[in-house]
């Protein structure tokens, strides 16, 4: 296999009879093997093992229903706009000169870096993240089963407030985009939300009052 035939070596004395050269039964397979390796290299280099990755997102049945049940007491709203602009405000939106006499909402600028958005979400979602960490430790010590861990972690992400026990509700993230926001920023934000263990998030339409605030800020 794959060797060069170099006659049949020594041993031909002067007195040997002249006989017809025995043709070798071996075939030179070098070209075939070369080709095989060439093909191998080609297929190794061109084959793509990686299938596309996906992230699954659920959408509310009707965004109008959402407003009714949005009695959120621990929400953060992100407003996305052109040039990777991202602004946020905490809690409900307070109009200027509202009846309750609350100060009007102002929006704060942040960015998509680890220092900006990531730290902000980690900080805002600290109770949930800590609770899930405790569960994870319990799971690692084999005190709870993995299904229990998953179930409890999920419950932690959707926890509602209990003032008597000093429990704050799990963080809810609302994502609103204006007409210039790009898709990439929305995906980045959802990705960050998932990384920070936030269970409740929704993409909703922007209110006119929010748009005004955003326009004033981006001008």
């Amino acid at each position: 296999m794959a060797e060069v035939n170099t006659g049949d070596g020594g041993g031909h004395g002067k007195h040997d009879k002249k006989r017809a050269k025995k043709s070798s039964t071996r075939i030179d397979m070098t070209p075939m093997v070369d080709l095989a390796f060439l093909l191998l290299t080609f297929f190794v280099l061109t084959s793509t093992f990686s299938k596309s990755k996906v992230m699954e997102i659920p959408f509310p049945k009707d965004p109008k229903d959402l407003k009714v049940q949005q009695k959120v007491n621990n929400a953060i709203t992100f407003l996305l706009t052109k040039e990777n602009g991202i602004y946020y405000y905490n809690g409900p939106f307070n109009l200027k000169g509202n009846k309750e006499g609350k100060p009007p909402t102002t929006i704060t600028k942040t960015d998509f870096s680890a220092k900006g958005l990531h730290e902000l979400l980690l900080d805002r979602n600290k109770p949930t993240i800590d609770a899930i960490k405790r569960l994870e430790e319990k799971y690692k010590r084999k005190e709870i089963a993995d299904t229990t861990y998953k179930r409890l972690a999920l419950r932690e992400q959707g926890r509602s407030a209990d003032a008597s026990k000093g429990i704050v509700a799990a963080l809810t993230v609302l994502i609103k985009t204006d007409d210039k926001a790009v898709y990439k920023n929305v995906v980045d934000l959802i990705d960050e939300v998932k990384i920070c263990n936030i269970g409740i998030y929704a993409i909703v339409d922007m209110m006119a009052s929010e748009k005004e605030l955003l326009d004033a800020e981006t001008k």
Binding site: V54, P60, A114, Y183, K184, V187, D191
Partner: protein
Amino acid sequence: MPKIKLPRANPSLDMTPMVDLAFLLVTFFMLTASVRMSEPVIVDTPGSHSEKLLPENVIMLTVDKKGKPFFNISNVEVRIKTLEQMGAQYQMTFTEKEKKAFGKMSSFGVPMKDLKKYIALSEKEKEAYNSPGVPLDSLDNQLSYWIRYGHVQERTLAKQAQAKAKSLGHQFKDTPLRFAIKADGQANFLNVKDVIKVLTDNDIYVFNLITNLEKGDEIN
């Protein structure tokens, strides 16, 4: 003392096992390699940390950089059935040849009236073709029909396959149909939202966003 003669080592070594392995690998890569159809648009999907893989059985909606929607069904049989139903809806008949060509196509972004012309184009011409996108406005929401009929046809075929498997006494594993949105990172989110609206209008509330895997620092 006579010298001990060492047997002369044969310089040619036996390469049989290596070549065997090489051929095995060649065969493996040749068989696993799948022919990828060229897409009519190049879409640069954004990155995420999700590690979920794209499901097998999908209806894929592509949104390109300019916000034009494209449509694709992964299953060839379903594609052809859906085309037949769409033809019936828009009073168009497709020849067997056209149906076959359509089954082999990748995603497309042309309205029904241009579809026959588009199918007839060669692979090269399709790449150069400036697709206007599948219409999805409220006056002529073809994308909605494509999704609805695609969904219906897929379920019908799955049921038939199940019935057939049952009659033969085989096991049947249903791979549920999933919906995926593959949008360009730079596309305006409003266009993506329009496509999402078409899906939610068709009572589809859970779907996948196709992203690239982004390697980032581990976060706790």
